[in-house]
């Protein structure tokens, strides 16, 4: 059980941890000071949302989704289309379209995005629907493990190619940009970054809360069981394909929401952000932070990106080495990630202290359990 959330033995511990995290998160902009840093962190919080979703699919469900860029991108494009329309008077074409296409009126595909709520709904629901269809197709045929990984990777590639190939509708490789006003505010006015940070923070807290509920629910246990032994779950009368599809849909919805929040933060949505390479990196955040613990996923997204920004400007050539080395070391030698390592140190420390005090506290959390893989 301890594999789910650190200290789930006592639900109050998890709640207090969550509250402390929420408080810390909302106080963070005050500590950061510079608006550039606040903007930076807002972006990382969006990545953390994707990571939490991925962790549900991969850490708990054993599905290595290497194409989350597709869902992140769908969310980002949905909101990006809305923001593009916000820059121009009602009913007129977004600026790239009036420049690069011969459309005279808004294409049907774009019309729903005039409404904020429609855009937000599309951002979350469309990824879930697509993930649902894809999941049913793939899991019903018992395609899993590395095959699933490579197929999802292919979906991210298709997404990027379709965006690039339809310049007149999507602005192609350059992507949607020019969001100078976002939801009525000047994006570059003082305070807007802080506002965006708070939206992202609330988004992350929602995603985390949902994910914690999910993994602790009966369904969550079924998901973990499916990860560890799909056949036994099947023999017990459940349909593993359905279980996995739902997990994949949850991950997709969270990525979509993250994308919708990220679009105004980035100020640009372009195909390169959602191609298969960024998608693999998303998985690597979760791996580094520690799959199978939701806090680990958050930690991984924040830490890896923090290192990236710190190192890549001062020593761009060393960054690829460092990044590669980080993935290799963590995955080959500490599969529990940073969270797993912290937890086993903590357990070791606690038992050492307990030993010295002469008490017998054998009920401490065990060191990292080997994570099963459904290959």
């Amino acid at each position: 059980m301890s594999i789910l959330v650190p200290g789930t033995d006592n639900p109050w511990k998890a709640r207090i941890a969550f509250l402390a995290f929420a408080g810390g998160l909302l106080a963070l902009p005050g500590l950061l000071g510079s608006p550039g840093d606040v903007r930076q962190w807002a972006e990382w919080l969006c990545y953390a949302m994707v990571a939490v979703g991925l962790d549900v699919a991969w850490g708990y469900g054993g599905m290595l989704a290497l194409g989350q860029g597709l869902f992140f991108g769908l969310g980002a494009y949905a909101m990006g289309m809305h923001l593009s329309l916000e820059q121009v008077p009602d009913g007129s074409l977004p600026s790239f379209m009036s420049l690069y296409s011969d459309y005279t009126e808004l294409p049907a595909l774009w019309r729903p995005f005039q409404s904020f709520w429609a855009s937000a709904a599309v951002a979350v629901l469309l990824p879930m629907v697509i993930a649902g269809l894809l999941g049913l197709l793939v899991f019903k045929r018992r395609i899993r493990g590395p095959f699933f990984a490579i197929l999802t990777q292919a979906t991210a590639v298709i997404f990027a190619l379709v965006l690039i190939g339809n310049l007149k509708l999507t602005a192609g490789f350059n992507g949607l940009t020019g969001f100078t006003t976002i939801f009525g505010r000047n994006k570059y006015a003082p305070g807007t970054n802080r506002w965006l940070f708070q939206i992202a923070a609330v988004g992350l807290l929602v995603v985390l809360a949902v994910a914690m509920k999910v993994v602790r629910s009966r369904y969550g246990k079924l998901l973990v069981a499916t990860r560890d032994s799909e056949d036994r779950v099947r023999f017990l009368g459940y349909d593993p394909a359905l279980v996995k599809t739902v997990g994949f849909m949850i991950a997709a919805g969270m990525a979509g929401l993250a994308g919708a929040v990220a679009a105004p933060v980035f100020g640009i949505v372009s195909p390169g952000q959602f191609d298969y390479l960024p998608s693999i990196l998303m998985v690597c955040w979760v791996a580094v932070g520690g799959r199978g613990t939701l806090w680990g996923a958050v930690l991984g997204a924040l830490v890896v990106n923090w290192i990236r920004v710190t190192v890549s400007s001062s020593r761009p050539d060393d960054w690829l080495y460092l990044q590669g080395l980080l993935f290799v070391v963590v995955l080959a030698f500490m599969p529990g990630g940073v969270a797993g390592a912290l937890r086993s140190w903590w357990a070791w420390l606690a038992s050492a202290v307990a030993g010295r005090l002469g008490t017998r506290r054998t009920a401490m959390a065990p060191a990292v359990e080997p994570l099963g893989e459904t290959a």
């Binding site: 991969w58 290595l64 894809l134 197709l137 793939v138 045929r141 018992r142 395609i143 899993r144 493990g145 590395p146 095959f147 990984a149 490579i150 197929l151 990777q153 292919a154 979906t155 590639v157 298709i158 190619l161 379709v162 690039i164 190939g165 056949d231 298969y276 390479l277 693999i280 998985v283 690597c284 791996a287 050539d317 690829l320 080495y321 990044q323 590669g324 080395l325 980080l326 993935f327 290799v328 995955l331 080959a332 599969p335 893989e373 290959a375």
Partner: protein, 297 residues
Amino acid sequence: METTLSNLYIGVTLASILLLVGLGLTFTFGQMGVINMAHGEFIMAGAYVPYVLQTSVLSGARGGAVLVAFPLAFLVAGVMGLVLERVLLRRMYGRPLDTLLVTFGVSLMLQQAAKDLFSANNKDVVTPTYLRGQWDLFGVTLTHTRLFVLLVVVLTMVGVWVFMSRLAAGRRMRAVMQNRELAAVSGLPTSRVDATTFFLGSGLAGIAGVAVSLIGPIGTATGTAYILSAFLVVIVGGLGKLRGVVLAALLLGTLNAFVEHATSSTLGRAAVFAFVILFLQFRPNGIVSFRTRGLAV
């Protein structure tokens, strides 16, 4: 008619490239189940070999350099694969998804290493004089370089087939891959067989590298350009099935050529990827497969 012929020709030459980059994977992925994302960087390493030869020891014989490059690139990439297997992957058997991500990390480091060694600029391999020229056949221009690549593929295939079915080492490899426990109790050194398999699969990437250096750019991104398609070919073909991989490469190559001709290059590529996903709905085990329960990976 002429366009159909020329599309077929383009499809076949495209298939030859897919086949060449996928062939090594039938060993490492197909036989051993290891998804080696650094396979692309072994191709890259192979592609740099003729460049290095042409600009150093064999600068006087640039045509010969390309021929010498084949065995040398096989060794270079093979040894890289061997090191990777012995140092990292050996610890990770049974964790295919972790292996995928670890080798992705390795591929990032190899790309940066190539950038440090050769600079970020693309390098050029001078086409040997014996490969310059073309034949016109029924209105289709067959270039000597592409035909040469085709020849390399055929020779490599023959070599692989002979090894797998005629040589003791190849039979040992198949034995270990099909039933590791049984092979082990029969006294086969499974760990050494693993190493050999990985060496061969990676070495084939080196050969592919030399071939693609004749037709495309040689740079730090050379491997990334081919890696995903290579995996798809192997999956569609059916794991470790030589016949299946040939068919899959031909299928995807011609599909790409025809869709591209009808629409655009970008959509042609998207169509191939979408086709693969749909195809696996109907044959989840690939074109050529054993009859098994579930998907044995």
